[in-house]
């Protein structure tokens, strides 16, 4: 380690001395340092998986090949860790923080525990996922691309809580006029799928990787019928078909085909806002407020190197799903779309949560 560092430094100084073009980012050198990537969730969640996937790649791509360790700071559904990160100042660029939809939703919903401000932080990377809703075989047979014939069916759905990512499917089904009764208190989408497999739940949704790994076999066995994806965003922020599931219609299409469901207006805007925050821009990596530009550039360049790896598409699709990874300006734009929800949409969701589930967030 020391020897190779020494060699690298020697080579670098030679290169500099010779006046060779060294990328600006290389001025920041993390040799011998340890970068802590703090995740406000436990070791066992999806965000842990995400950070553990990127950590070794990032370590390779950063100048000086620092050790990148993932640290966990779970508590209060990630608000504890995020509140902590809000207090951190730039030191030597060795602190990185990761958030997920579960951090963004309380922020958007004015949860009283939120003491953090996304706008203060500097995003360096963002990545997303998609989601697929599916029905049991019996009700799936009635599904014709619209929810018209599903309106008189009572569905049961195993849910983690209406204020979590489950807000997106629950609101979607409600907009379609479907009668879905959530059974709250499950601990992960895997448990929801199990409930569906046991026949206790009759409708379910999974994020893309969960769907590919656990639900596709159900579809192949004829026990489940895919209903819709949440879709993906194109460059102009329009909802288009999810590239991972080009054959499954989006919620937007199903909504258009269903009587009484509107793809404009308050409800739609609210749904779309939370969909964007929860799926296409689900996970973000941040540097603390006040980080100097050269450090930000270094990280941006490193993440760009990771994304540009020839094998990136292949290794990432199996581990985190094949969705775009936004770097640098892209991540800034992604953050803005994910955290700016019009007040009307916010009020609509807060009102709906209260009416439908009695949830009051203050």
């Amino acid at each position: 380690m020391t020897v190779s560092n020494f060699t690298r430094r020697a080579v670098m100084s030679l290169m500099t001395a010779a006046g060779l073009a060294v990328p600006a980012a290389a001025e920041v050198d993390f040799s011998g340092k340890t970068i802590e990537w703090v995740i406000p969730f436990s070791e066992t969640g999806g965000s842990a998986k995400w950070a553990n996937f990127f950590a070794p790649l990032l370590s390779e791509a950063l100048p000086g090949q620092p050790t990148v360790v993932v640290k966990f700071m779970p508590g209060a559904g990630s608000t504890k860790g995020a509140n902590w990160f809000q207090e951190q100042a730039h030191d030597d660029g060795t602190l990185l923080f990761g958030t997920s939809g579960s951090t963004q939703f309380p922020y958007l919903l004015n949860d009283p525990r939120v003491r953090y401000e996304y706008k203060d932080w500097i995003p360096v990377m963002a990545s997303g996922t998609g989601g697929v809703a599916y029905l049991n075989a019996e009700d799936g047979a009635k599904f014709d691309g619209s929810a018209n014939s599903l309106k008189d069916v009572d569905f049961i759905y195993g849910s983690q809580g209406a204020t979590r990512l489950d807000l997106v499917p629950l609101l979607a089904w409600q907009m379609l006029g479907m009668n879905v009764e959530p059974v709250f208190g499950i601990k992960g989408r895997g448990d929801g799928r199990l409930m569906f497999e046991r026949g206790e739940a009759t409708i379910d949704y999974q994020t893309s990787s969960g769907y590919l790994g656990g639900s596709v076999p159900l579809v192949e066995a004829g026990q489940a019928v895919p209903m819709m994806t949440w879709g993906a965003l194109d460059a102009d922020s329009n909802i288009v078909r999810d590239p991972t599931f080009p054959d499954i219609p989006t919620f937007k299409e199903v909504c258009e085909a269903t009587d009484g469901c509107e793809t404009s207006g308050e409800a739609w805007d609210a749904w779309k806002a939370f969909f964007v925050a929860g799926f296409p821009v689900q996970k973000l990596a941040f540097l603390p407020a006040g980080t100097p530009q050269d450090v930000v550039d270094t990280y941006t360049a490193a993440f760009q190197t990771v994304v540009d790896r020839p094998d990136f598409a292949e290794i990432s699709s199996k581990r985190v799903g094949k969705y775009p990874v936004f770097v640098g300006d892209g991540s800034q734009a992604a953050l803005e779309t994910a955290t700016s929800v019009q007040d009307g949409a916010k009020q609509y969701v807060l009102g709906w949560l209260k009416d439908a589930y009695g949830v009051e967030l203050n």
Binding site: M73, A76, G185, L194
Partner: protein, 676 residues
């Protein structure tokens, strides 16, 4: 038969994969690392696996699996050391082991207890693997047959073990279990998010209390304090009686108990969502019920170790079924394991329904690597147990500060808040008084552990059942009273009836003398006060969140009713009745040279100093003062021991990349690790 025809060659492939020297090398490496990490109570598997993750990326799958499984498999084995020798339940898998293991250590039979435990662990692991080899092929429909009503019934079966462990006064045991359940409801409700006995102003409480802290507080703190007061060694007379070979003989004499408990372990482990929390209690209850002379339980009955230890390693094997077949982790370490498997090789192995079809050889490799790791781990542990058991002959005053250090660190790791230490102290205080007044601590812990599953499954099963009833009455009845549920109801009823009859002979706290009315009465009134406040608090949750208030109301009401009856009994019975059991009247605690409060003050001192100057600085001061003042050691000894303690702490925390609790000082000055 067709299945077997495809399975057998795959089993052969699996063995060919495993039996490469390099794979075995990785396995042994993992086992050794797991044993080293396993000394930290309540942290083991998760911390160890996180440590390995960075190396998993792109690693040859079978090497990575060997390394990880080696590490995970030995955690339930190695945490037996802490349970037996120190009375510290290392994880939920070793709670029941404490009940008889620690008394055996106190009787000078630590080596015997350890080797009996390890032999049972090994055997349980092997039985589990054998069973799984066949069962995994047909497991899917069976696992799916366990819906919410079935899981609820298994949880209730676990809860019914309270009947066995209730102690001499059944009402006290039930109230203790109820109190445990009420403590378990603290925080944000799973279903509707209502707050119970918590406020957003104290974010710590909204997450609820962690099992590690409650386990340490209820079992470890009272024992440490009591032994420290007596100022003796753990083993009475500082001598070791039976050796490690006796333990193996004990196990062999009870081999059928070991077989039955292993099967219980695999079977319950297979059901996703229950995890290990109930297994060892069910196994313990089974051991009690099948033993003719029950008087030894709680005082050092070796069958009380063999049962739970056989089941907890078998459970790890069972837990592979939901993990591998459904991609649903049965425990925290399994969740990391799933994530890590995705990093292996080219990422082709995906845990989930495809495992059996596409990767049966890998599946079998995992099952048998687990068994093999058990063998290697157990042999290492048995080899070490004779030597490590000598710890119990050391004067406890020299051990206690290290134990305070370890439990504080373990508690802090569960939430990484200073409040973790306060919670540990508070629960420890409850534990001390439960122990003193002979309220069943196991009952309290069972209540706490099962509080969340009982609430969750009750609410969810109720919701789905009412949905089915709305469709038709028959459909609802079919859902609730499935054949499995009916069988479980019968088993539960039988075990409760038997349990109540037997409870009086099982004295987990030993034979406690009774004294005057005043102290036991005050404690009862304190519990009642808490229950009343908790009931009022639950009553204030609005009715549309009925799911969040119904369980606290019912359980709280039930416990309060038990307490009221106890109160009436206390008023009517004369002083000296068993109901007024009090350890401070006569016995070890009463005769101890040191009082409770001065002894507890040392622990308070450590916590208070941590709050001001952070953990490591506080620890340096604590260790030096303790060894000089309390233990009366000379300076040389004091400094050597302090340096050893701090060095060990920093080495382990450094290797596992863990932080220490910071204090006010760290908020003002920027200090380097480990002082920060």
């Amino acid at each position: 038969m067709e299945i077997l025809a495809t399975a057998l060659p795959e089993l052969g492939n699996a063995w060919a994969l495993i039996l490469q020297p390099i794979v075995l090398g990785y396995l042994v490496l993992g086992v050794v690392m797991g044993l080293a990490v396993g000394v930290f109570p309540g942290l083991g598997g998760i911390a160890g696996l996180s440590l390995l993750l960075p190396f998993m990326f792109g690693m040859e799958p079978v090497y990575g699996l060997a390394l990880m499984i080696g590490m995970v498999a030995v955690v339930p084995t190695s945490d037996t050391f802490a349970s037996v020798l120190m009375g510290i339940p290392g994880s939920s898998a070793s709670q029941a082991t404490v009940l008889d293991g620690f008394p055996m250590a106190k009787n000078g039979q630590a080596a015997r207890a350890l080797s009996a435990a390890f032999a049972s662990s090994l055997f349980g692991g092997l039985v589990g693997a054998t069973f799984l080899t066949v069962f995994i092929l047909i497991a899917r429909p069976i696992v799916l047959a366990f819906g919410l009503p079935e899981m609820l019934m298994i949880t209730i079966l676990g809860l019914s073990m309270v009947a066995v462990l209730a102690g001499r006064i059944a009402l006290k045991g039930m109230a203790a279990a109820g109190l445990g359940m009420m403590i378990g409801t603290i925080g944000e409700a799973d279903a509707g998010g209502s707050l119970r006995m918590a406020t957003y102003d104290i974010p710590y409480l909204t997450d609820g209390l962690k099992l590690v802290i409650v386990g340490l507080g209820i079992f470890a703190v009272p024992e440490i304090v009591s032994l420290l007061r007596q100022d003796r060694s753990i083993a009475k007379g500082a001598s070791l009686g039976a050796g490690w070979f006796d333990g193996i003989r004990d196990w062999f004499a009870n081999i059928w108990l070991s077989v039955r408990c292993s099967v219980i372990g695999v079977a319950v482990g297979v059901i996703p969502g229950l995890g290990g929390s109930v297994v060892d209690w069910i196994a313990y209850g089974h051991s009690v019920q099948t033993t003719k002379d029950k008087s030894g339980f709680g005082k050092g009955e070796v069958r009380g170790i063999i049962g739970p230890e056989s089941s907890n390693n078998a459970k790890e094997g069972g837990g592979l079924v939901p993990t591998l077949l459904f991609g649903i982790p049965g425990s925290g370490s399994m969740a990391i394991f799933i994530g890590a498997v995705a990093l292996l090789g080219s990422g082709d192995i995906e845990v989930g329904p495809g495992m059996l079809k596409d990767n049966l050889d890998i599946t079998y490799s995992i099952v048998w690597l687990l068994a093999l790791a058990n063998v290697v781990g157990t042999i290492l542990c048995i080899a070490a147990s004779g030597g490590i058991a000598k710890l119990t002959t050391i004067r406890f005053t020299y051990l206690a500060p290290f134990l305070f250090m370890l439990i504080s660190f373990a508690a802090f790791q569960s939430g990484q808040n200073f409040e973790d230490l306060l919670a540990l102290f508070t629960i420890g205080l409850i534990g001390i008084f439960l122990r003193r007044f002979d309220w069943s601590r196991p009952a309290f812990l069972i209540g706490f552990v099962l509080s969340n599953p009982v609430e969750k499954f009750t609410n969810q099963a109720f919701q789905i059942a009412s949905f089915r009833f709305r469709k038709s009455f028959e459909e609802g009845m079919d859902y609730i009273f499935s054949p499995i549920v009916i069988v479980l109801i019968i088993v539960t009823v039988v075990s409760v009836v038997l349990g109540i009859r037997q409870a009086k002979t099982i004295m987990a706290e030993g034979d406690v003398q009774s004294g005057s009315k005043r102290a036991p009465l005050i404690f009862l009134l304190a519990i009642m006060a808490y229950l009343i406040v908790a009931l009022i608090n639950a009553g204030m949750i609005p009715d549309y969140n009925m799911t969040d208030k119904i369980i606290p109301l019912v359980i709280g009401g039930f416990s309060l009713a038990c307490c009221v009856i106890l109160l009436v009994q206390m008023m009517r019975r004369p002083e000296g009745d068993v109901i007024f059991a009090d350890k401070e009247v006569a016995g070890e605690d009463a005769d101890a040279p040191y009082g409770l409060w001065p002894t507890l003050a040392w622990f308070v001192g450590l916590i208070a100093a941590t709050w001001v100057v952070g953990f490591i600085l506080a620890l340096i001061g604590f260790l030096i003062t303790f060894f000089r003042v309390r233990a009366g050691a000379d300076w040389r000894m004091t400094l050597i021991l302090t340096a050893a303690g701090i060095g060990f702490m920093c080495l382990m925390a450094g290797a596992l990349n863990r932080d220490f609790p910071p204090g006010l000082l760290q908020g003002v000055v920027d200090l380097p690790w480990p002082l920060k």
